[in-house]
């Protein structure tokens, strides 16, 4: 009997709460998809480096999985709690009819596991299907192609996903059972008809609150903009936290104020059934205000993570050319400051004929005793992101190259070198953020003091140019001084290579072998060590693979965590709505009884749901813009232009997920109402 009852209940709940099943299924699909990444490696053309990065992604995703499982557990337990609350009376009747507690537990277990197993099967089928497409996305992210395509079906991913979700299902069952045991029959049987008490909020008070919160946020912003930000770091953290709390306050006040203003605008308010939509939405939002504000903050995080991860990708592609302008860079780190042997000759001894690879330049890098803090500390405030770079425990010293070496570099890259006169210096950097700092400096300075020696600064002599390949932009500042002035210790020599077109494949292969030897910690590592110093190598190909791999990592983790957050929010919003429809069915019925048409009713339900779904998204939007603006200002790898495109893409994804849930909720809500009519 219990089995039949469970099957009947299961059918009913699947029909009524397809949102719950949909979320359960989709959660499983997402987890499966990211678990199955490991199997995609065999089908995509990945280099040795990219394989290493892929493994890093997989390890990182393992970590993210813990967060995902916790998030899904909370989400599904919360969603299930809603369903259980709805069925309180039903359980009371079971008890009243003489059903034993273990029978009710059995019923609950069958239902929970039934739903779980259905979701698991559907989720994995969907996951297997989507993973066939996802392989293309992975190939695209790694900027490579699909080779050796085979149908992707990962038993390990299925096993892991099943284990994760079985744990969640058992957890949900135990939680439900514990909740059920706490109920008393009398309280369960009592018909809890909700009465809604709407507090009137004084408009003047709201306007004051809203203005106060806005003023506080603006004050906080100006404080963080000021030099106080760096001087009193702890105070800044407190101010930032206060700003976040004020944002929450502003969110709450904004919602209240907007609804109060809508209610006051009598003329528009009484048009059609608009006032019903406004009042009902306000009632629902007021009831779940904290929950909605919480969800808006979650949406802010998901939206920002998505945008920034896409933006990071976009930026990274553009950044490769800036940070790795040469086909290859070989750096010789000398043990002594006196040059005793040519790195070119030393390499030749190791079997690498650099000159045969193509055009090369050799640049000596001198290290001064002048720190960047000494030079630019008071200007770095204009750009807070550089603050940590200037002095992060160990001081950053100004590095110097000679003018002749600069000219060689410029010629190698095919650009016109800037001419200097006499005692003038030029400055080079590959960091965009350095430009405004130095421009600030130039407004008040025509000369610069390096280790007690004063130099004139060439007008417009501030160039965005890297003197070697880097795996991320970190050449803070390189001074170009006249040849005769370079008297500082010199430990580093950089050999930049532009491959001969005809031999580029062999050149890349040779340097890649050198690179692999140097980065693998085995006995061969010392192969390129000499008695004078050691070598390191970085080709453009390596940088490109590194950047693309890092990007893939960021995009994957960004997408994974954001989609999960969005799913959680959308599901909760949807369950709030469906529960509301059930609780208020008699009121909707009244609308029909007094002459409202079905079409008007459907429109009413639709508008109310759209408002409820849209409020947290609208609350989130200005905060996302603020975060992005801050990131563009602060983060090295984020650019405004690419961020706007990424914002558009991530907004599309938000609309797709939240909108999709909204549409399904409208359909389910309407069906539930019509069924119960």
């Amino acid at each position: 009997m219990v089995k039949q009852l469970a099957i009947r209940n299961l059918k009913r709940s699947i029909q009524d709460y397809r949102i719950y099943l949909f979320t359960f299924t989709f959660s499983i699909t997402i987890v499966y998809l990211f678990q199955s990444l490991v199997n995609q490696q065999t089908s995509i053309a990945l280099s040795q480096n990219q394989l290493g990065l892929m493994n890093t992604i997989l390890r990182a995703l393992e970590g993210v999985n813990i967060f995902v499982v916790i998030a899904f557990s909370a989400l599904l337990a919360g969603a299930n709690g809603f369903l259980l609350k709805r069925r309180q009376q039903e359980f009371a009747i079971y008890y009243a009819l003489g059903m034993k507690q273990h029978q009710v537990a059995q019923l609950l277990a069958l239902e929970t596991f039934g739903t779980g197993v259905i979701a698991l099967i559907l989720g994995i089928i969907l996951g297997v299907a989507i993973s066939q497409i996802m392989i293309l996305m992975t190939a695209q992210l790694f900027q490579t192609t699909v080779i050796n395509y085979q149908f992707l079906f990962s038993w390990i991913a299925i096993l892991k996903t099943s284990v994760y979700f079985l744990i969640i299902i058992i957890g949900i069952f135990l939680l439900n059972y514990w909740q059920l045991k706490r109920y008393r029959i009398t309280s369960l049987l009592k018909n809890k008809q909700k009465t809604y008490e709407l507090k009137r909020v004084l408009q003047q008070r709201l306007v004051l609150e809203w203005s106060g919160a806005t003023l506080l946020i603006l004050s906080g912003y100006f404080f963080l903009q000021s030099t106080w930000f760096s001087k009193y770091f702890f105070v800044s953290i407190i101010v930032s936290l206060c700003m976040i709390l004020t944002c929450i306050w502003l969110n709450i006040t904004s919602v209240k104020l907007v609804f109060q203003l809508l209610i006051r605008s009598k003329y528009h308010y009484l048009k059609q059934l608009r006032f019903v939509t406004i009042r009902t939405s306000w009632q629902q939002i007021n009831e779940h205000l904290w929950s909605i504000v919480g969800m808006s903050l979650l949406i802010v995080s998901a939206w920002s993570i998505l945008t920034l991860s896409f933006s990071y990708r976009h930026t990274s592609e553009a950044v490769i050319q800036t940070i790795a302008p040469y086909d290859a860079t070989i750096v010789f780190h000398s043990y002594e400051s006196d040059k005793v042997a040519s790195p070119v000759d030393l390499l030749l001894e190791k079997g690498v004929d650099v000159k045969a690879l193509g055009d090369i330049t050799m640049t000596n890098i001198y290290t001064t005793e002048t720190t960047l803090n000494d030079l630019l500390a008071e200007y770095n405030m204009a750009n807070a992101s550089l603050y940590t770079f200037f002095d992060h425990g160990a001081p950053s010293f100004l590095r110097v190259i000679t003018y002749d070496d600069y000219v060689n570099i410029a010629q190698l890259l095919g650009i016109e070198p800037i001419r200097t006169r006499g005692h003038e210096v030029l400055f080079l950097t590959n960091m965009d953020d350095m430009l405004p700092v130095f421009e600030d400096y130039l407004q008040t300075h025509e000369t610069i003091d390096i280790d007690g020696q004063r130099y004139g600064i060439r007008e417009d002599g501030y160039i965005k140019l890297g003197i070697e390949n880097e795996d991320f932009s970190r050449q803070m500042l390189i001074a170009v001084v006249p040849e005769r002035e370079a008297k500082w210790p010199q430990y580093t020599t950089v050999l930049n290579v532009m491959y001969d077109q005809k031999k580029s494949m062999q050149a890349e292969q040779l340097l890649d072998e050198m690179y692999q030897t140097l980065i693998n910690f085995d006995e061969k590592q010392n192969q390129y060590d000499t008695q004078y110093g050691s070598f390191s190598v970085l080709t453009k190909q390596h940088v490109s693979e590194q950047v693309i791999g890092e990007t893939a990592l960021v995009v994957y983790i960004g997408m994974y965590s954001s989609i999960i957050i969005l799913l959680a929010c959308a599901t909760l919003l949807s369950l709030h709505q469906l529960t509301f429809v059930i609780e208020r069915k008699s009121e909707y019925q009244t609308l029909l009884d007094i002459g409202s048409s079905k079409k008007q009713m459907y429109q009413q339900l639709k508008k109310q749901m759209i408002v409820y779904f849209i409020v947290p998204v609208l609350l989130a939007f200005p905060q996302v813009l603020a975060i992005l603006w801050l990131m563009v200002k602060l983060a090295l790898e984020i650019e405004a232009g690419s961020t706007m495109i990424s914002l558009a893409v991530s907004t599309g994804i938000i609309i797709l997920i939240i909108g999709g849930y909204c549409i399904v909720s409208i359909q389910s809500g309407w069906r539930m109402f019509m069924k119960q009519k």
Binding site: L270, Q272, R279, E587, Q589, G595
Partner: protein, 252 residues
Amino acid sequence: MSEILQVKQLEKYYGKNGVLTKALDDVTFSVERGEFVSIMGPSGSGKTTLLNCIATFDRMSAGDILIEGASLANMSASQAETFRRDQLGFVFQEFQLLTTLTAFENIALALTIQGVKEPNVTKRIMTIAERLDIVGILDKFPSQLSGGQKQRVAAARALVTNPVLILADEPTGALDSKSANQLLETLKYTHEQDQTAILLVTHDALAASYSDRVIFIKDGQFFNELYRGKENRNEFFQRIMEILIVLGGQNG
């Protein structure tokens, strides 16, 4: 006086697969314009089914219902919605007010569904509110009102659209006697002022005694009818009670 409602050989069955329950069997009667008619009968006699068929909430199985000459038998669902909106007013036992709306907005609901625009909405609400003495409670929510006040708001919602027929299903069922009398006086006054026809389904003889005519039904069939004529309310009440004794069974 012309007939505003005609119920002709109305039949309503429930059930399927050959097992049918007859809820209404050959019921025929009519209501004149501006007439106040009560329908009484024991539990399960078919009173509410009859009201639901007239209100187009339920479809009839056979016979016909004509309101202002328009037949409900062949009306589509959409036509029924329009008809209900424009011609009928409803007062329910449990008031059926929307708890999220103020009294004003609850009344405005009926008008906005019809597409009436401001400032007509406010003007018409104020007129009916003055008549029903609810001006002072218009900005209150249902949870802040007494049962009697709620029912007067519900009555205002039914009357504000000037319907040709008001259908009231046990409107005094959830009220104390004082509030019930107040409401019935109000309905009676409105009916006399505007010549609005009222069809009241009730098990309360006192409520029925406010009407011009009482129709009794039993087991889904027409049983008897009483005209008030020139009698006062007490006399009419006594006659209703006599019929109820003959009718027997539990009223409700």
